[in-house]
Amino acid sequence: MIGVGRRWGHAAAGVLSVVYLVPLAWIVITSLKSDDQIRGAPNALAFTPTLDVFREVLDVGGGAIVTSLRLAGFTTLLVIGVGVPAAYALSRLASPGWRRLVTIAMGVLLVLQMVPQPMAVIPLFSILARWKLVGTLPGVVLADVSLLLPFAILLLRPFVLSIPGAIFEAAELDGTNGWQRFRYVVLPLSANGIATVGSIVFILAWGEFIYATTFLTEQTRLPVSGLLAQQINLYSVSWNRMMALAVLTSLPLLAVFLLAQKRLVQGLSVGAVK
């Protein structure tokens, strides 16, 4: 398009695909190897695939998947439950005063979204300890919510804003109140956006490990991502186990990517900072 021929395009696409596909393939290939194969020839390409290590990981860490499901599920519910009304409030410019407040709120949300997580974890630990929530799942859920809510509101707002004003006008002429307009106009018409943002929040919460490993002190309570992070603390890393956990940590992303790839990409790009 800007003076680069198709042949260059094909070549670059080929190179980049290899550079990005090989590590992906390596995760899957390694996760299908047995302990003996890993010890003998960890990089062999010819081997008999086995699900042994998955079976073992699920035996030992089956609870981890339940933990991940609960963490990501509750986080998503809370973020959407709080974020959608907030996005609605920040989209309806009721008065000049409110409009100013919206500008300020948007600025605050952008800054909050930029706070590095390894920094936020320090005061959060103190606050959650004060509330006796360190070592509990609700503590991690709250931390995850605070991490993802600013991002979710910023992502949701354009979806609410894109609802044509005429629809609101019509709803008002019909004598609806604010709640009814939220319930019967905003929710159905931004359902796509809510689904998109909900899946992104779920994926991010599922892959989150800093809060999980810092706040959940007992290893038995860790989610899948936390178990993966813990692998590095082991005296000798067993690569097949690590890669099996990596596969499990990527599962929601894979599912959403296969089902709704385009929307996911758009949503993630809008979030920019992530």
């Binding site: 395009g9 500008t103 320090i122 005061p123 354009p158 990527s250 990517f257």
Partner: protein, 309 residues
């Protein structure tokens, strides 16, 4: 423009219809309140606490308080630490590698991939998937690929070269981790620049092409100047990304060998949760926060300008 959609909607919605509607809209406070409470308690309040902790003596026993005010002593302790300055340098190197790879390779990649054939679309899809992977996943596979007995070294062995200590050599570990982080964030750069390239005015490009401009001339005199606001925002985003780059260090090298790959976020985290000096760690975090705030201003201005222009 992909990156700006979040901020652009702030001022762009003053249609007459919308204004007429909003006059009748009920008070929106109630809808915002839950978010204000949660973010107030778990996002804004922590920042205030962080500032207080950075000026107080906070150890493992006093993590919930009461905190004794000790002035700037935590900052003095942090600035007096050799590892602090080393972590600043490591963060600088890390950021620089990310910027060079993401902007230069990002631009070239986006330009080459903009031909829009099946192969370039497929490559973009694969890259976006990798970018969306949890960093701990991409970090751990590279830890394996770059390990002493990993695939990269056995590939080198196949062509008769000696294996390389990618992650365990003090001279090379930081570069290796930085390059992996660049690998993981490059898709985002390409995606953003790709979006910018698609919105270029085709008539201008065509005219320049007829005048005999090649790829480099076109880039230098037309494309890059037009893309400048996008690239400015992208630059800030990359620097911010580098400042949260904890995950790759954590998974791949744990800050080592020695403290070679200890970046500022990793150092702050370790000071808090390995040595339990929460006060000093907070001071370190405040220094990083300062960088974030300094960058947040041009970021928001850049977003606004790009939207206006």
């Amino acid at each position: 423009m992909l990156t700006t959609a979040t901020a652009s909607s702030g001022s762009g919605s003053r249609s007459p219809v919308r204004l007429a509607v909003t006059r009748f809209t009920q008070q929106p406070w109630g809808y915002l309140l839950p978010a204000v409470i949660i973010l107030g308690a778990l996002a804004v309040f922590p920042l205030i606490q962080l500032a207080r902790m950075s000026l107080s003596e906070v150890g493992p026993r006093t993590i919930v308080g009461p905190w004794e005010f000790i002035g700037w002593s935590n900052f003095r302790k942090a600035f007096g630490d050799r590892i602090f300055w080393q972590s600043v340098r490591a963060t600088g190197t890390f950021t620089l590698v990310l910027l060079v790879v993401d902007l230069v390779v990002g631009y070239l990649g986006a330009a080459v991939l903009s031909s829009g054939t099946w192969s370039t679309n497929l490559a973009l899809r694969i890259m976006v998937f990798v970018w969306a992977l949890p960093p701990i996943v991409s970090g751990s596979v590279w830890r394996f690929l770059l390990a002493g007995n990993g695939a990269i070294n056995s590939l080198l062995g196949l062509v008769g070269m000696e294996s390389v200590d990618w992650l365990s050599s003090p001279d090379r570990a930081l570069l290796s981790v930085s390059l992996v982080a660049a690998w993981a964030s490059l898709p985002f750069s390409i995606l953003v620049i790709h979006g910018g390239l698609l919105s270029l005015p085709t008539d201008v490009i065509e005219a320049a092409r007829i005048d005999g401009a090649g790829f480099w001339g076109l880039s230098r005199h037309i494309v890059l100047p037009i893309l400048r606001p996008t690239l400015a925002v992208l630059t800030v985003l990359i620097i911010l990304y580098a400042f949260r780059s904890f995950d790759f260090v954590y998974v791949m090298t744990e800050g080592g060998p020695g403290t070679v790959t200890t970046t500022l976020p990793y150092f702050a985290y370790n000071t808090a949760f390995k040595t339990y000096q929460f006060g000093v760690a907070s001071a370190l975090a405040m220094v990083s926060m300062l960088v974030v705030i300094v960058l947040a201003v041009p970021y928001m201005l850049g977003l606004r300008k790009e939207h206006a222009g």
